[in-house]
């Protein structure tokens, strides 16, 4: 029996409504693995798997931002960094406060009332 590729499985799950970014994500998972791709975008392997299977219950817009940031270099306008790739934006939003460097403190404050903030954390 031939094992199906992630792309094939994803096409079956999503049907004709498969968005480009999910397709890209599936291709990337075939090249590496779902686990390593998950690390790359700052999500758990479970999130990657359920998005591919069209069963994700969380904020899919945030996953889209992370995937497009990592694979398509889609940027957001960060008040601290200027052009910032989407997955790095999400990573910084999720960080706890730590005064390890001045940028991190500035980000912590800026993320709290930033329109890019999707986590609602620290607000």
């Amino acid at each position: 029996m031939i094992k199906k590729t992630t792309v094939e499985k994803t096409r079956e799950a999503w049907g004709p409504s498969l968005p480009d970014w999910v397709q890209l994500m599936a291709e990337n998972c075939d090249q590496t693995s779902q686990a390593s791709f998950a690390t790359r975008i700052g999500y758990s392997p479970a999130v990657v798997n359920t998005v591919l299977g069209c069963k994700y219950k969380g904020d899919i817009g945030a996953v889209k931002q992370a995937v497009e940031g990592a694979l398509m270099h889609a940027t957001v306008q960060c008040p601290v960094y200027g052009d910032l790739e989407g997955h790095h934006c999400l990573e910084y939003q999720r960080r706890k406060f730590a005064a390890t460097n001045p940028t991190r403190v500035r980000l912590f404050r800026a993320c709290r009332d930033c329109t890019n903030n999707r986590t609602g954390r620290n607000v």
Partner: protein, 245 residues
């Protein structure tokens, strides 16, 4: 992305930014038999830390700014916080944890305000970290005396790939800062020359003066300021005023 806010650019392309980027890049692209630490030093206010923040973002470097109150242990605790790892109990275990993370991630480390660690005689902990990470690229940043302070630790001192010196901010740098930070008025080049001259190399003083000129102009009700209009008003030179009674 469906963002409608205007594009922001938060770091001016000054000479020191290019120097800092090149310094870290040299450590990252070195041949494997060469040491991987680079030292970047210069006086306070010359834009080293801003350059470091830019460089850290560009190369996804871990960026740690030391504080005067840190001990060896708090240095390691804060480094692990920056790396996103829960710290082990002892300093030696923490060094192994951090070394593993640096080695696995392949990301460089920038340590700012390194003179504090030299003052605390805690320089060797950075050497331990360097060895534990299998030679992760490191950029050490500190004030002007850092290279001479490090001379006390010969083994550390000779592990340096390069010593890079920050450059004083010049008129070109001042103009770059003007286009980034002065939005409400225009400042003529003759006044900019005075600003650059009186700042004596300090990016921070240039920024303070650009803001001061902008505020004065707005209070005056004009949107252009030049040397003649500025007249005999004082620029900020960094000297605290003396009271004359």
């Amino acid at each position: 992305m469906d963002q409608h806010s205007p594009p922001v650019n938060t770091v001016a392309p000054l000479a020191n930014v290019a120097i800092c980027v090149a310094a870290l890049e040299r450590a990252m692209t070195r041949a494997h038999h060469l040491p991987g630490m680079v030292c970047f030093s210069g006086p306070s206010g010359w834009g080293k830390s801003t350059a470091a923040a830019y460089t850290a973002n560009r190369y996804r470097a871990y960026y740690l700014q030391c504080m005067s109150a840190w001990s060896k242990k708090s240095f390691m605790e804060n480094l692990l916080r920056e790396l996103g790892i829960k710290a082990a109990r002892t300093i030696s275990d923490m060094i192994l944890q951090a070394g593993e993370e640096l080695a696995l991630s392949g990301r460089p480390l920038i340590i700012d305000e390194m003179q504090y660690m030299a003052d605390k005689k805690a320089v060797e902990i950075v050497q331990d970290l360097y060895e534990a990470s299998g030679g992760a690229p490191m950029l050490l940043i500190g004030e002007e005396q850092l290279p001479s302070k490090l001379r006390k630790w010969e083994r550390f001192h000779n592990r340096m790939l390069d010593w890079v010196l920050a450059q004083p901010a010049d008129l070109e740098d001042a103009k770059a800062l003007r286009s980034l930070y002065v939005k409400k008025i225009t400042i003529a080049d003759d006044l900019m020359a005075k600003v650059a001259d009186e700042a004596r190399g300090s990016v921070r003083r240039i920024c303070v003066n650009l803001d001061r000129i902008e505020q004065e102009a707005l209070a005056f009700g004009t949107d252009h300021m030049d040397l003649a209009a500025w007249g005999s008003r004082q620029l900020f030179t960094g000297e605290a005023p003396r009271r004359r009674v």
